[in-house]
Point group: C2
Chain length 324, copies 2
Amino acid sequence: MTTLQMIEAAAGRLQGHIRETPMLTSPFLDELAGRRVLVKPECLQHTGSFKFRGAWSAISALSDAERQRGVIAYSSGNHAQGVAHAAALHGISSVIVMPSDAPRLKIDNTRALGGEVVLYDRSNESREEIGEALATERGLTLIRPYDEPQVIAGQGTTGLEIARQAAAMGVEQADVLVCCGGGGLTSGIALALEGHAPGLRTRPCEPEGFDDVKRSLVTGQIQGNTATAGNICDAILTPQPGSITFPIMHRLCGPGLTITEKEAMHAMALAFLRLKIVLEPGGAASLASALFRKDEIEGDSVVVVASGGNADPEVFGKALKFLT
Amino acid sequence: MTTLQMIEAAAGRLQGHIRETPMLTSPFLDELAGRRVLVKPECLQHTGSFKFRGAWSAISALSDAERQRGVIAYSSGNHAQGVAHAAALHGISSVIVMPSDAPRLKIDNTRALGGEVVLYDRSNESREEIGEALATERGLTLIRPYDEPQVIAGQGTTGLEIARQAAAMGVEQADVLVCCGGGGLTSGIALALEGHAPGLRTRPCEPEGFDDVKRSLVTGQIQGNTATAGNICDAILTPQPGSITFPIMHRLCGPGLTITEKEAMHAMALAFLRLKIVLEPGGAASLASALFRKDEIEGDSVVVVASGGNADPEVFGKALKFLT
């Protein structure tokens, strides 16, 4: 189980290796959202998403002997790039198991960053089974994308920065909106804020039809999605909340929010126009929630964790049409 | 004349009001450029460009009585937004004289930020004459876009940050590439680096056909451009270097670099893909120089000041085609 102390220890290991992302604002977004909007652009993190934090945390927490044998990960893309890059910077090898329908850009980048990519069919193969078989065969350590205490600790360092930056901007009470797949980032931020900014309440944001975390929080039991693909927010499509992440989210998070694909694309366009940052659909679910679900949000300010920017150019071009 | 002391004083006035932009990197850009590339994304500054620094510096340096009468500025767009926003945050009025062919987005934003916009015809009217007439008539203080000591001091604060950030990243010898119009940012950075990082050499970057600063540095005398419009890098098209900025650049800057419109657009696409930031063509001239003029650059590292991100969506969409 991840603790606040593990998050603080991870922050020490990450120092000098991750980028402390700034906190962006725009008077135009404030007006649209009806409250002050503070955007944490994790798209500017190394490899274009927060995933590098968890990857570095997990790899740096291994023993020397484990680390030298190499690591393996399975991921729709952003965790893949984070693990491949963090492994290469540690001078070790990585195997990345990716769905064959992942965006081409993410597959190409993972290879270019030094990862050995193994593709699988998302509709009839289990990435967990493939990953564990390869791990056993080659002596690799599996770095799970979210249900892994040291990965959650790494993602939680985002929350330590939010606590410090929000306080410096005079914000002590606010909802913190987080794009949520398996819940690694959401649960890590929730733990960090519990310790360092108890007036900030973490809330998961998901695409309609893939709102497993929202429903699980309502029922208090883990709920799954019927579909596992077929939404533009590919970075945050997961079958169900993690067994480690869910109890943390259930104890600490406020109600979930859901947005449509069009709203995610519209939020991408507004992030382009008003913040000059590039978001991918799954990384814009939080901003979309701030802009288009404002009646479900409490307080004079809202914090938005814009979690990833690995957008395919064609998808981004479509998003820009929301401005014309 | 602007001095290092004025830049340091401006940094004090700007503290808490401007954003300290991070320093971004990408292994993909390093490979393309053949050296380590450190990108200072001033597109993430308030109003989407570095211009907010100079505007805040100049307005905050006025006497109370001057400030209360209001300010006026003339600008192709980014200085306009910077002055309008800085004036509004100071609680004073601003009049902005803009060319009628400026990108619509920049005109709209200037109005929305609280500026009173006065349009003029770039081909047969002088913005200087219009600006000075209005200033006299209404008692406004003219905030010139570059040939203004306190504006140069404000832009120079970018150089103080570069000196500190580059040193923290172990870079003490490098060319610093700056998108250059009238030379306010270039000369301010050059002064700051002379004092705080003498191993960093400032170099202006301009579009081909609008290389007045490059030619002026070669001859040692101010040279003008024959055309004043008709290039996609609208933010950095000026008739000639300023009479205050040029002597500073002549004393401190290395040779100028020029890039084509296509190279500026290609650099925008690569900034989208590798850094997840939005640049406008004139704000990408420096990155284009780093990527496409690498034989003209010295050293193992290069610093790129990516100065603005107020790109029209249609132009940005065209830039993305360089990725397909």
